[in-house]
């Protein structure tokens, strides 16, 4: 295990639960939301990991946990050999500059009362506390050019920019402390299609030029496929399948991944009409009292028996770098239905 900790980012059985507290009158527990429920992952320096899954499956919670905005309930997280989850709340501030986050909503992620210049200078000073005057101005304008904004607009306020431009400012702010790891939590979901492509291009370019490591969160597999080297598919707080982007999209093993890929609308009428879909049943169950065993059983479109509810599937490497939650009903559904 110890060599795994030498990797860039290592998560070991990370769980993040939210205790909903007790009912005021009856004193009965309202339950525990198991938003992230045992995730182990290793990310190499310089790679982009895509994280996909339905709404509420815990993608944002996992991102926030890695960012140490929420501390994990249990499990460990190492970044470059340093155990983040063991650093005290007091000392965590000093290491935060090494990992930054880009948020979903470009309208809520910038302080409306601060100019772009103020926002960026403040962030730059976390890495260069003594930077001021011309040096600071120069750094700010360099950052703005890097993200494709005109430095002459640095005295403007967020509301004077369009959604796409604000997202660029937010990216610049995340880059300002010169982080090694960037977590982008649905950075294009709130943007119009024509603007999405600008931001995707930008992120891709920055990543290769600066050698950043990136976790890219989205519910849209087509976007994730385009930008990621590897993809992790999340369901109800756990990872069901992990592998190369191409493998996951083109040859998925798990039935859930198949349902996800077949749900992506393809902008090609002939292909759309000819392809077969795996349509899931019902909705994602509540993470408060998640289903036992293979947590996918209530929605499984394939035949299964009681065993599925009982055995917790192992997460195994079925081919080099291709991991799957190995439930025999989910992984070989054709065999299960026919035989």
């Amino acid at each position: 295990m110890s060599d795994r900790r030498d990797d860039f980012l290592v998560l070991e059985n990370v769980k993040t639960h939210f205790d909903l507290g007790r009912d005021f009158l009856t004193r009965r527990s309202k339950g525990v939301v198991k938003a992230v429920d045992g995730i182990s992952l290793t990310i190499k320096e310089g790679e982009t990991l895509g994280l996909v899954g339905e709404s509420g499956c815990g993608k944002s919670t996992l991102s926030r946990t890695i960012m140490q905005l929420i501390r994990p309930t249990s499990g460990k997280i190492w970044l470059e050999g340093k155990e983040l989850s063991a650093i005290s709340d007091r000392d965590i501030r000093d290491v935060r500059k090494n990992f930054q986050m880009i948020f979903q909503d470009p309208y809520a992620s910038l302080n409306p009362r601060m100019t772009v210049l103020d926002t960026l200078s403040e962030a730059i000073r976390t890495r260069h506390p003594d930077s001021k005057g011309d040096d600071l101005l120069q750094r700010v304008s360099e950052l703005l050019r890097t993200v494709g904004l005109n430095p002459a607009q640095m005295k403007r306020y967020p509301h004077e920019f369009s959604g796409g431009q604000r997202q660029r400012v937010a990216i610049a702010r995340a880059l300002a402390p010169e982080p090694k790891l960037i977590i982008a939590d649905e950075p294009v979901s709130a943007l119009d299609v024509s603007i999405q492509s600008q931001i995707l291009n930008l992120l891709k370019r920055l990543k290769s030029e600066m050698g950043l490591t990136m976790i890219f969160v989205s519910h849209d597999l087509s976007v994730v496929r385009y930008i990621s080297d590897r993809i992790a598919v999340m369901y109800l707080g756990r990872i069901t399948e992990l592998g190369n982007a191409e493998t996951i999209v083109d040859d998925p093993l798990h039935i859930y991944t198949k349902a996800l890929t077949s749900a992506i609308p393809v902008p090609d009428p002939r292909a759309e009409h000819s392809r077969k879909r795996v349509i899931l049943q019902g909705d994602q169950p509540s993470p408060i009292d998640p289903p036992s065993g293979c947590n996918f059983w209530p929605r499984s479109p394939v035949e299964h028996d009681a065993q599925m509810k009982e055995t917790v599937p192992e997460f195994v490497e079925v081919a080099t770098g291709h991991w799957v939650s190995n439930c025999r009903f989910c992984v070989e559904p054709t065999a299960a239905t026919s035989g």
């Binding site: 999405q196 492509s197 930008l202 902008p267």
Partner: protein, 348 residues
Amino acid sequence: MALLEVEDLATHFHTREGTVRAVDGVSFSIDKGETLGIVGESGSGKSVTCYSLMRLIPEPPGRIERGVARFDGQDLLQMSKSDLRHVRGDRISMIFQDPMTSLNPYLRISTQLIEAQQTHRDIDNKAALFKAIEGLEEVGIPDAANRVKSYPHEFSGGMRQRVMIAMALINEPDLLIADEPTTALDVTVQAQILDIIKQRQERLGTAVILVTHDLGVVAGNCDKVNVMYAGQIVESGSAEQVFYEAKHAYTRSLQKTIPSLQEKGQELYTIPGLPPDLTKPINGCAFHPRCPFPKTGAAETGRPTLKDVGDGHCFADCGYCDSSGSIEDVLAKGDTDDIQLPGEGVKA
């Protein structure tokens, strides 16, 4: 005869900042059992078109300036308020974008579904409740007989949207207008919802207008497509025509911005600039300032109109755009630098 025929519809908003020409001369038609897709980026006037047909535009500031919308021989835009009430919710119904706010949170689902029927039909409570349960079952609500008495907040977003569909279809309308019915939902739930709409449509022979900004949704679900830009239709035709033989520079650019259609290593095309300010008069093609294949020449006054280029495939040809140009060439030239020019930020 077409079920609905819209001619030269124009809806403007008279605001303090000026007149917003949200919809400015839109014509299309839809037959029984057909699905018509309306696509376009945010602000192109998709919703305003739908709301205008239902006469749900807030007046003031909005006003339907001109146009005809013949539905089964009657003009929806001239109809008296009381006649309109008979059409709305009975022969034409609408599904809205936000499943969280389009059901009344204080009333049981059953109450809302029964009310929807009794407004238009002489039907007793029992029969109406029975139909309500049947409707919920058809849109895939498990255990519908027990859950029909629930309140909307007890359902998830996807379930609420299904209830909305059940409600919209309960009177078996001739036309269903769905304004981005799945934008707020997950792809998996989206697939379920679109599937349900399709099944119900096949059974009841309903015509559907499906508004979306997702070209993928259009491709899988629509027979005909209208592409809207800045308040007008710039291209229309069958799904195959619009996807495989796109003529208008905007349609072609839009396709090149979608990640799922592009090779992985390839840079995505980005449409430069921003949509035009709808309070200012537009001369020539509205897309001209952002066009990747502009030809030199002066913009004419007025906007180009839709012309048929064969088999019902229409597009607004302005004549100042090189329709043989390909985006690949533009990308290869590498002048799609995404650095913005000064003064391009929009003032709120």
